[in-house]
């Protein structure tokens, strides 16, 4: 279908948390009709879904979840945020009115070149903030299909690779130990929030200070945790935490941010991509001896291969493998960590701005602090 230049179609879907006793009753169908009357808008047969909200059921594990879908066609760029916000409100209303199987679990959006078009993603981010009060992030699924979620930003990727940022893997077992103790006897530690304050001197290994915050200091908590986890907790006034929230990191976030195993999420301009740690050695080939990224130089395949053979970051078994290098180049090019310049390769100039983050589904984000 030929559309005017500025016309844009957004296909949005919302998945709700599953419930074992959920069924699409006549009452629910009637409520969906009301939603359609209230929020529906003609989409002129564009998009993957219709311009009216439609409800579907998905079987998930031992329970049934629902999904509500709707497309919107926007002609004027200035109206994009409003229209998308309208759909978000409809998703929210469905959960509030008990039409869905449960609270919102995740959302997806589909439009052409979604991974490249920052200008088309921005109205969605703004609409999300307008309706839910928080910024969202997009997880890359396909070129035209993104998942809307939340993320905790840890640090720049380069600091993760150098391990010279506020997060350090040496502290991860300590944090895990404290967390385990908090979970072991939750009653004893109730009513307080627990943090880590990274004491970060550039160029040096960071230190961490374990803190807790609440109505008043609790000597019992301090002594117990010192005995059980061998960590000393310092009391921080709630006002101090609220005044400088960036200074303190929750235990769960520090644990995830300092891990050197599992999936690695990186974010570039609000778009999240997953990097397999197996491919990370290639990034080190684009770094100098002090592990600073080399941005002003491109490398030929041969140069990269020579570096790979001598890199201590590449597993011994793969150091001579040409296929390993080919695969890593291919995968990291797909994820825009490196760019091809003819037959030469270089780091994405935006590399210093790429962030190491942890991705959360919408329904999971707030649970991480509980």
């Amino acid at each position: 279908m030929i559309l005017p230049k500025n016309a844009q179609v957004y296909d949005l879907a919302c998945h709700y948390e599953p419930r074992s006793d959920f069924a699409l009753s006549a009452r629910l169908r009637k409520s969906v009709k009301e939603l359609q009357d209230e929020f529906g808008r003609r989409a002129w047969m564009t998009g993957s879904y219709s311009g009216r909200p439609t409800i579907h059921t998905d079987m998930k594990g031992i329970a049934i979840g629902t999904r509500i879908e709707m497309s919107t066609l926007v002609f004027r760029p200035s109206r994009r945020q409003d229209r998308v916000a309208n759909i978000f409100r409809m998703f929210q209303a469905a959960a509030d009115r008990g039409i869905s199987s449960g609270p919102i679990a995740r959302m997806t959006v589909r439009f052409d070149h979604a991974d490249r078009r920052v200008d088309l993603r921005e109205p969605i981010m703004d609409a999300f903030a307008e309706v839910f009060g928080n910024p969202c992030i997009f997880q890359f699924q396909f070129n035209n299909y993104l998942r809307i979620g939340r993320a905790v930003v840890h640090q720049e990727l380069v600091h993760y690779l150098r391990e010279d940022g506020p997060y350090h893997s040496d502290h991860q077992p300590r944090v895990e130990k404290v967390q385990n103790e908090l979970h072991r006897q939750p009653g004893r530690y109730e009513g307080y929030r627990y943090f880590v304050e990274p004491l970060f001197t550039p160029g040096q290994k960071p230190e961490v200070r374990f803190c807790y915050s609440g109505a008043r200091p609790d000597k019992l908590i301090e002594v117990t945790l010192r005995q059980k986890s061998e960590e000393t907790l310092a009391f921080v006034e709630p006002g101090e935490v609220d005044a400088a929230p960036d200074r303190f990191v929750s235990l769960a976030d520090y644990d995830l941010g300092s891990r050197r195993f599992g999936a690695l999420w990186v974010s570039e301009k609000g778009l999240l991509r997953r990097i397999d740690r197996v491919w990370l050695p290639l990034v080190y080939l684009f770094m100098d001896r002090e592990l600073w990224p080399i941005l002003d130089r491109s490398f030929s395949w041969e140069e990269l291969y020579a570096r790979q053979r001598n890199s201590r970051y590449v597993p011994i078994s793969s150091r001579s493998s040409t296929t390993f290098l080919d695969i890593c180049i291919e995968r990291l090019r797909e994820r825009r960590i490196i760019l091809a310049d003819g037959s030469r390769y270089r780091l994405n100039p935006e590399f210093p701005n790429i962030l190491h983050v942890t991705y959360y589904e919408l329904g999971e984000y707030d649970k991480r602090l509980s």
């Binding site: 594990g61 031992i62 893997s169 000597k219 078994s317 695969i327």
Partner: protein, 627 residues
């Protein structure tokens, strides 16, 4: 030929590397069968040529034989068509057989090569990849490469040849009609851009989903006992149903796209045929008979009808190879991925490589660690500054909480990994100077997770020493306290035990594993939680047997049970990759520290109670406002 490149390493030395493209890797695999593939190609081309004759014969029947009531021509054409069909079928049969032969041999070659290569790889390879993943490469990806050989490549050549041949024929018959027929082909290519990417995504999703379903079913079947133990059968069914349903929906979408693509290309072909039909038909209808006799006009019309029939048939045949050519691109993608995945494994090298003059000698069993450190690449330090000495006949126990680095020490002794710093000496010679096989032939490992192969008890015991005599087998079983229960089995040593030794109890499996280790009469014996599944009585018997055996060999025991380590010559207490305490049981149990915390329950309990009392007192003081 692969591109030869010279790279300079950090020491300034030049290294010659052969870099192969995927195509070169592919050609290398099929090179031994090039003559057979050539034969296939020749047969395919003959088949294509033969298929061209049929429309001509058909056109003769329609255009000449029937209007002229010429029985002779009619019969000749029909016989000709029969011969063409028979020749086509026979060639098809031959070609199919040859293709299967090549495909079978290519698959056989790759799987043999890959399996042998994987066997040579170091332990780190198996630790970083799941068996399912390796298996999927060995079985699935190799098959996709074979499909590329037998299906895609030959069909592409045949399609190109057939399309060129038909086009030439059409141009020869009437160049104007040929151009009209070609006019719609860009629409075929347009369909590629319309559908390929979407279909590609759906296919990728379908593959991913299938692999998830495979993984899930494998996991559930492997853990059948746990699933049943937790009465989770229905839950697992529902989980799988959800995944199957997602797979079904993806399948529906990809099926719809495939059908839509097919319908689009067919419609384009039909439109093309229709346009050609109109053009050739009008040539006949609008033929100007001025200046021609009646007979000449009749002949011209007849010739027009023959051309009409032949061209319609040829145009129909022209579009098929074009569609096939477009589809080939979609078939190449999974095969290319398969090739890459296979070569990713074939390119790997061993982590631990023998030196050119590696020693093959009998060892005495003295082991010395000198400031040994170890870290996995891009990971934190697992062992730091580990030093100890173990003399022949000594039993060294490694104790400590999980993740302390005990098993890593054992892995370094077995030379599954090389230390990142420091030295390991065996009989005062650096471990890296020994040939790996020579060293491992003189040691035995018994792990907590005992793996027994599907086969008889005897076959499993002989795995430790294939040329062992019957007496050696029985002796090892007796030492491991396994002889008694083996004898009680229906066929004794010839009883078949299921995969993983599923028909045996945990203790029985472990005793067989110990017997398998003892049959080798190793100089170094490593027991990693080897007796943890034994009951106290069995463990005592095995301990007695081991005590005798340990006399003239060096034994490393990793254990949590006090009874297993109590008599060790030296106990190394490890925590977070360091040795935090060392000494005999008597010495360590007297000292406050980690060992006492782990092995003196009374002391640990008293300490905990004391701490709790202190906390209680503190809590009360806090309530009273004293602090």
């Amino acid at each position: 030929m692969p591109t030869t490149i010279v790279v300079e390493d950090e020491q300034g030395e030049h290294i010659v590397v052969k870099r192969k493209t995927r195509l070169q890797q592919f050609l290398q695999l099929v090179r031994p069968y090039r003559w057979m593939l050539g034969q296939c190609l020749v047969i395919m081309l003959i088949m294509s040529g033969v298929a061209m004759v049929q429309p001509l014969l058909f056109a003769e029947v329609i255009g000449r034989a029937l209007p002229n009531q010429d029985l002779e021509l009619f019969t000749a054409c029909l016989v000709g068509m029969l011969v063409v069909m028979l020749v086509g079928e026979v060639l098809g049969l031959l070609n199919g057989h040859l293709l299967r032969l090549v495909a079978g041999r290519v698959i056989f070659d790759i799987r043999r090569k890959m399996y042998a290569h994987v066997q040579r790889l170091s332990l780190s390879f198996f630790e970083s990849r799941s068996p399912g993943e390796i298996n999927s490469r060995l079985m699935g990806d190799t098959a996709s490469i074979a499909n590329l050989v037998t299906g895609t490549v030959l069909r592409t050549i045949e399609s190109v040849f057939r399309a060129t041949f038909i086009l030439g024929l059409l141009l020869w018959m009437d160049w104007r009609i040929a151009l009209i027929a070609m006019a719609v082909t860009p629409l075929h290519f347009l369909s590629y851009f319309l559908f390929e990417r979407r279909l590609g995504h759906e296919s990728w999703k379908a593959t991913e989903k299938n692999s998830q379903i495979n993984g899930k079913t494998n996991e559930v079947f492997d853990a059948a006992k746990v699933v049943k133990g937790y009465s989770a059968e229905q839950r697992e069914v529902k989980t799988l149903v959800a995944q199957l349903r997602e797979g079904y929906e993806i399948g529906l979408r990809s099926g719809w796209l495939t059908n839509a693509w097919g319908a689009f290309t067919n419609s384009v072909s039909h439109v093309g045929s229709l346009v050609v039909m109109v053009a050739t038909g009008l040539v006949v209808i609008w033929m100007d008979p001025t200046g021609l006799t009646e007979a000449q006009t009749r002949d011209q019309v007849q010739q027009g009808v023959v051309n009409f029939s032949a061209m319609i048939a040829y145009v129909g045949m022209l579009y098929a190879p074009i569609s096939q050519l477009i589809n080939v691109v979609g078939q190449i993608i999974p095969a290319r991925v398969g090739l890459q995945r296979v070569y990713e494994i074939l390119d790997l090298e061993q982590d631990v490589v023998d030196k050119p003059d590696a020693l093959h000698r009998k060892i005495k069993g003295d082991v010395k660690f000198e400031q040994v450190c170890f870290a996995y690449p891009m990971d934190k330090q697992v062992l730091s500054d580990i030093s100890f000495t173990a003399s022949t006949g000594q039993v060294i126990a490694l104790v400590g909480p999980s993740g302390a680095g005990k098993t890593t020490v054992a892995n370094l002794i077995a030379r599954f990994y090389e230390p990142t710093a420091g030295h390991i000496l065996i009989d005062d010679i650096d471990i890296t100077d020994y040939a790996v096989h020579s060293l491992r032939n003189q040691m035995s490992l018994v792990l907590q997770e005992t793996y027994l192969f599907r086969g008889t008890v005897r076959e499993n015991l002989l795995y430790g020493k294939p040329n062992a005599s019957e007496d050696e087998v029985i002796n090892a079983a007796m030492l491991a306290n396994a002889h008694e229960f083996i004898q009680a089995m229906p066929y004794g040593y010839d009883t078949i035990i299921g995969a993983h030794g599923a028909r045996l109890s945990g203790g029985q499996r472990q005793r067989l594993a110990i017997a398998r280790a003892l049959i080798r009469d190793p100089r170094l014996l490593i027991l990693d939680e080897a007796t943890s599944a034994l009951d106290t009585a069995s463990e005592m018997k095995v301990q007695e047997a081991l005590a005798t055996l340990m006399n003239d060999r060096t034994t490393f025991i990793i254990a949590h049970r006090l009874s297993t380590i109590k008599d060790a010559s030296q106990i190394l207490v490890m925590e977070k990759g360091h040795i935090v305490q060392r000494g005999t049981y008597g010495e360590l149990i007297e000292r406050d520290g980690l060992f006492r915390k782990l092995y003196d329950p009374k002391w640990a309990k008293e300490r905990e109670e004391r701490e709790e009392e202190e906390l209680k007192a503190l809590s009360e003081e806090l309530k009273a406002g004293a602090v």
